[in-house]
């Protein structure tokens, strides 16, 4: 082997750590394929060792070097698998946030470009799943960050400043004209999605 065992997966793990805070990075297909290839190879070798031990003359499997080799292959395979799962899991977490509308919507297109095909499929199906669930509770607008950091709303109306032009928005209670730089006194529920999307800024 020209590279160390587990080196590709180590690189993958480091990449996952590096991109954990930032927006989603491009799907590193190369590294993933490398890791998979390594797993296949280790698996083949381990199987070959086992077969050899079975066919050999020494009846009880007493050759420690062979045993350790098989064990090492096995553990490396499991470790590689674990890293693959972790990498994908982290990326999925970011995609899920997108579907619930947690403020990354403005960069949605950029995100979509960096995804693998399977991740795009997941994004679509997950979006459907979420919308399906939301449809049972239409009045309540389950979007946003899941009520985690927020306190229950104290005011019905809040002051917001417009960051970007968005034209006229029609809400349940009337019209809003959003031109950049304006300050508006608006109903909180109308405006939450816009704040999340970055069009408005809440002024304390």
């Amino acid at each position: 082997m020209t590279t160390m065992m587990g080196e590709s997966s180590y690189k993958l793990a480091k990449e996952a750590k590096r991109t954990s805070e930032m927006l989603i990075s491009t799907y590193n297909d190369d590294l993933v394929q490398n890791v998979c290839r390594e797993i296949r190879m280790l698996h083949a070798r381990a199987e070959a060792s086992v077969r050899e031990m079975r066919n050999s003359d020494t009846a009880p499997p007493n050759v420690p070097s062979q045993l350790t080799q098989i064990m090492l292959h096995h553990l490396t395979i499991k470790r590689n698998k674990r890293i693959l799962f972790a990498y994908h899991h982290q990326r999925l977490g970011k995609l899920k946030e997108l579907s619930w509308g947690v403020g990354r919507q403005s960069q949605e297109r950029k995100i979509k470009e960096s995804l693998s095909k399977e991740e795009n499929d997941f994004l679509e199906s997950y979006g459907d799943l979420v919308n399906d669930y939301k449809s049972h509770f239409l009045d309540i607008d389950l979007g946003g960050n899941g009520g985690v950091g927020l306190d229950p709303p104290l005011d019905l109306f809040i002051e917001v400043r417009v960051l970007r032009d968005a034209g006229k928005i029609i809400t349940e209670y009337g019209e809003l004209n959003l031109t950049k730089g304006n300050q508006e006194f608006v109903r909180r529920s109308d405006v939450e999605t816009l704040i999340k999307a970055g069009y408005l800024k809440h002024i304390a």
Binding site: V32, H88, L129, D139, P153
Partner: protein, 235 residues
């Protein structure tokens, strides 16, 4: 309570602020028939929400509370739209009702989303081990099944299909690591004792005396049965 007879805004505001001092905004504003009957439901849902937010595992779904409040919200919203807004008093009342509606919506939303978060975290464990179907609502159950299938499919298509047969989830890994995520029952929680009094046995063989209104911080596993039977609530 807000007087119907005072016509000036300032005097109604005075009454409102004094009534606020001894009651929460829910009770102070729910003089309307709509929410008065659900006052207890609101309290129960608030408790259920607090318990759910603070507990490391998924608790039973209080469907009857959610459904009742969703209906009451709808009813109240319609009432607000229909009442004529002539005096300042009416407008203030309307604002208060709307505020109450927003706050209740917030609680319901946070409750449902917290549950979904826990379901997504421990999907396979819940699907396999929860023997009571009342743990999740049927919509949550459908969500859990579909979510699990989506994630498995994604993992399979992304890399697992390239590996030899011994693939896929759920192995017991070496000792501590398990691919099936379970909720951490050893997590510490703050509890308040509601009505139990007596000694409670903890896992490490200590005994603790519980009296009404005591506040403790303990491992979740120790008080789990008390929480489920309603003797204790999480803070």
């Amino acid at each position: 309570m807000l007087g119907d007879h005072s016509s000036s805004l300032s005097s109604s505001l005075n009454e409102f602020s004094s009534s606020l001092q001894d009651t929460q905004i829910f009770e102070g504003a729910s003089i309307a028939d709509g929410f008065l009957e659900s006052d207890d439901t609101i309290k129960q849902l608030t408790n259920a929400w607090m318990n759910e937010r603070n507990s490391p595992e998924l608790l039973t779904y209080k469907g009857y509370l959610v459904n009742e409040l969703v209906e009451a919200l709808d009813f109240q919203a319609n009432r607000i739209l229909e009442t004529p807004m002539t005096t300042h008093q009416d407008k203030l009342n309307s604002m208060l009702y709307q505020n109450e509606i927003e706050r209740i919506k917030f609680i319901i939303k946070s409750y449902l989303r917290t549950r979904l978060h826990k379901i997504e975290k421990c999907t396979l464990d819940l699907l396999r081990n929860s023997d009571i179907e009342e743990l999740m609502s049927d919509k949550e159950l459908a969500y859990a099944k579909k979510y699990q299938q989506l994630v498995e499919q994604h993992n399979h298509d992304s890399f697992l299909h390239t590996l030899p047969q011994k693939q896929h989830k759920q192995d017991e890994r070496s000792g501590d690591l398990n691919m099936v995520v379970t909720s951490n029952l050893e997590a510490p929680v703050f509890i308040k004792v509601l009505d139990y009094s007596g000694n409670v046995q903890l896992a490490n063989d200590d005994m603790v005396l519980f009296e009404k209104d005591d506040i403790f911080i303990l491992r979740y596993a120790d008080i789990r049965s008390l929480l489920l039977s309603g003797h204790v609530r999480l803070l």
